[in-house]
């Protein structure tokens, strides 16, 4: 793990000073990352205070349940997205994968399949969806932004083909209760509990394993990561596959929560997922960010939407606040970076292998 890190995060730097430089880099990066999460924690508290001030209903257990249950799936999809963005890629097809899984669930249920077999099929579908993304990005060498815009349409299109204008809603109450009942003996909605479990797993993988460090390394410099012996393509493919399967799971939860399988389930939520990840302090260029930040951002996102809902603020217009937060999240670290280095960060935009023509730049 140590060698991966050292050679991985310093592009092309030979010699003994490398590890010292990396350590210094880490030391200087750590406090600022810490500050970012502190800022998010303060934001969460501020939202709690704001919510409590504007509505007596805000700090009730019933409202916590509602807030959690309506935000669970988007938060779940933000977890694999965090790893993908840190690795220097992006997956815009997440919400379409959710919709496609939901459609398959409804379709197979309407064909009287047994529920366990349906779950297996839905997870396999998620796996295939992720594999298509991953292979096109890593093996064909296409930019993930373009690939996943394509599969965004393709997967949503498959959902349309499967269900058409139909709505399937005759699911057994034992499943659809997850939208209204908490886990027995607790106040937690099922999807929030699953989010918590997955967050711990993803957090450990990202922050405490060699694979996790490799993800940072390839996000910071794909070429250096490759030279360091990291299986960049294999890890990225795996990340897309995991994302597909997690989104399939989110599709199942979404379907049961609303007790409805319809082709436009989750439509447009990919932007909310990306917004949460970026608000969580993950750099769109890859190589930076933490899962804790994203979890805090997901909580802030959910709390803010709920608070705005309770203030009778037009809920659709909550985009103003979310967009504003997104701008703050991207301007704040940039202003700091500009003060330090004076260099525009976006000049590095195509530094990675995601650009198909990058290879030609080196000859």
């Amino acid at each position: 793990m140590e060698p991966d890190l050292d050679t991985g995060s310093v592009p092309g730097g030979p010699g003994g000073e490398v590890s010292g430089g990396t350590a210094a880099l880490l030391r200087s990066a750590a406090p600022s990352a810490l500050r970012w999460e502190t800022g998010l924690a303060i934001l969460v508290v501020a939202i709690l205070v704001f919510g409590a001030m504007v509505s007596p209903q805000f700090l009730t257990s019933g409202n916590f349940f509602n807030t959690g249950v309506t935000s669970g799936e988007v938060a779940i999809m933000a977890l694999p997205m965090t790893l993908i963005v840190i690795s220097g890629e992006i997956d815009l097809s997440v919400a379409s994968t959710l919709g496609m899984s939901s459609a398959l669930l409804g379709y197979l249920w309407s064909k009287h399949w047994p529920m366990p077999a349906i779950f297996v099929m839905v997870l396999v579908l998620g796996l295939v969806a992720g594999l298509i993304n991953g292979l096109l990005v890593t093996r064909v060498g296409l930019p993930s932004l373009a690939v996943t815009i394509g599969t965004l349409a393709l997967y949503r299109g498959v959902a349309l083909i499967l269900l058409g204008p139909n709505t399937i809603s005759d699911f057994p109450a034992g499943y659809t209760n997850i939208g209204v009942l908490p886990i027995p003996h607790t106040q937690l909605p099922y999807n929030v509990a699953i989010f918590a479990v997955l967050a711990v797993i993803f957090g450990i993988v990202l922050h405490a394993t060699a694979a996790g460090r490799s993800i940072y390394a390839m996000g910071a410099s794909p070429a250096a990561a490759l030279f360091a012996g990291i299986r960049v393509k294999r890890i990225k493919t795996t990340l897309f596959v995991v994302s597909g399967m997690v989104c399939a799971l989110a599709g199942v939860l979404w379907t049961f929560r609303l007790a409805t399988a319809v082709q436009n389930n989750g439509y447009g939520e990919e932007l909310a997922v990306v917004a949460i990840v970026l608000l969580g302090g993950v750099s769109i260029f890859g190589g930076k960010g933490s899962l804790g930040g994203v979890v805090l951002a997901a909580v802030a996102f959910a709390g803010l939407q709920n608070a705005l809902l309770l203030t009778n603020f037009n809920q659709e217009a909550s985009g103003i606040v979310i967009g504003g937060l997104l701008l703050v999240s991207v301007f704040a670290p940039n202003l700091a970076a500009m003060r330090r280095t004076g260099l525009p960060r976006w000049a590095r935009f195509r530094g990675g292998h995601r650009s198909p023509a990058a290879g030609t730049g080196h000859d």
Partner: protein, 350 residues
């Protein structure tokens, strides 16, 4: 991508200049040739199955349907070529459509050109905001325009509330824009084609247009070469915003009912059209004409499904599949081209 390579070679030296320029032209021809060939083959196949596909009425319908997307594709091309992306165009279109078409209800007898100017102004304001943040704030355009997608749609929702602009409030002079035609070709299609022609000429022939390609190929090199990167990128976003504003007015004339959802999700459709049309998503190559043909192809598929009696449900999947095929083919061609260039330049150089 492929043109990126040649563009970088060009300043290499006078001896390499002629051959690489010829190659550049050939590449540009290939890029547009590919998408046009696909369109022609597609139309031919559809027509052989169902001759009514090329009915005058159907063509008219197809062209009118394409205008808004083709216009938006022009603005998006100018932005994407400079290695940026504008995700806010759908929201800008929605805001402009509501505010400008709403003018007819508030000021009776307001001339149609004034309404178009209003739409242009709204779009320019949004574009300037995007451009300032990207160019001066130096933050990635993907994030900025994702944020303004939300913010502008939010403002739109606040203004619109539960209202909508209805067809009754719109004068005939306005709604006729989408239908009046000369010899079967809608005026609006001619106007949009002219605008796209101007845009394509600007990108291809003007210094500032060429500089957008240079920025998209390599921003750092462009800066070192003395190009005002920030100013050019700012201009690109301003143009894209202005075009989205005008497209909003056209949208209102076409659909005649405008609520707070107008244009939702258009950004991804337009980016699909642009990429299918051969514009590299990471900048530096592609043409406005290609992007417009990409928009036309997507509309043609839509129309063909209709004519062939295939369910519209297949449209989105086909569009997505087509995008994947387009970028995969482009990648394969560009890899081959790089290999060919290497052989050629080593032959010329030694």
């Amino acid at each position: 991508m492929s043109a990126t390579v040649t563009a970088r070679r060009e300043p290499g030296g006078p001896s390499a200049n002629v051959s690489s320029r010829r190659l550049t032209e050939r590449v540009f021809r290939i890029r547009e040739f590919g998408i046009i060939a696909v369109l022609v083959v597609f139309v031919a196949i559809t027509m052989s199955i169902q001759p009514s596909f090329l009915d005058e009425q159907n063509i008219q319908f197809l062209l009118i349907n394409t205008t808004v997307f083709a216009l938006l594709a022009l603005g998006e091309t100018i932005v994407v070529v400079s290695r940026n992306v504008d995700l806010s165009i759908g929201s800008v279109l929605g805001l402009s459509a509501y505010l400008s078409a709403g003018l007819f209800g508030e000021h009776h007898g307001i001339p149609v050109p004034v309404v178009f100017l209003a739409g242009l102004g709204i779009g320019l304001a949004c574009g300037i905001a995007n451009g300032l943040m990207v160019a001066v704030g130096r933050v990635p355009s993907l994030v900025v325009t994702l944020a303004t997608l939300y913010i502008i749609r939010g403002i739109d929702t606040l203004i619109v509330g539960g209202n909508e602009v209805t067809a009754q409030t719109l004068p005939a002079a306005f709604t006729n824009i989408a239908h009046a035609s000369a010899g079967g070709v809608p005026y609006v299609a001619i106007a949009v084609a002219a605008v796209i022609g101007l845009g394509a000429y600007y990108l291809r022939a003007f210094r500032s247009g060429r500089e957008l390609y240079a920025i998209g190929s390599n921003p750092e090199a462009a800066r070192l070469a003395g190009i005002g990167v920030g100013r050019r990128v700012f201009t690109a976003f301003t143009i894209s915003g202005g075009i989205a504003g005008v497209a909003g007015v056209l949208w209102a004339a076409q659909y005649q009912t405008v609520d707070s959802l107008a244009g939702t999700g258009y950004e991804l459709t337009v980016i699909s059209a642009v990429v299918v049309g051969g514009v590299a998503i990471f900048g530096g190559s592609g043409s406005a004409v290609g992007a417009a043909v990409g928009a036309l192809l997507l509309s043609a598929i839509n129309s063909a499904l209709n004519v062939l009696g295939i369910s519209q449900l297949w449209l989105e999947a086909i569009a997505g599949f087509l995008l994947l095929v387009a970028i995969t083919l482009d990648r394969v061609i560009s890899v081959k081209l790089v290999a060919a260039l290497r052989r050629r330049s080593s032959g010329v150089g030694t």
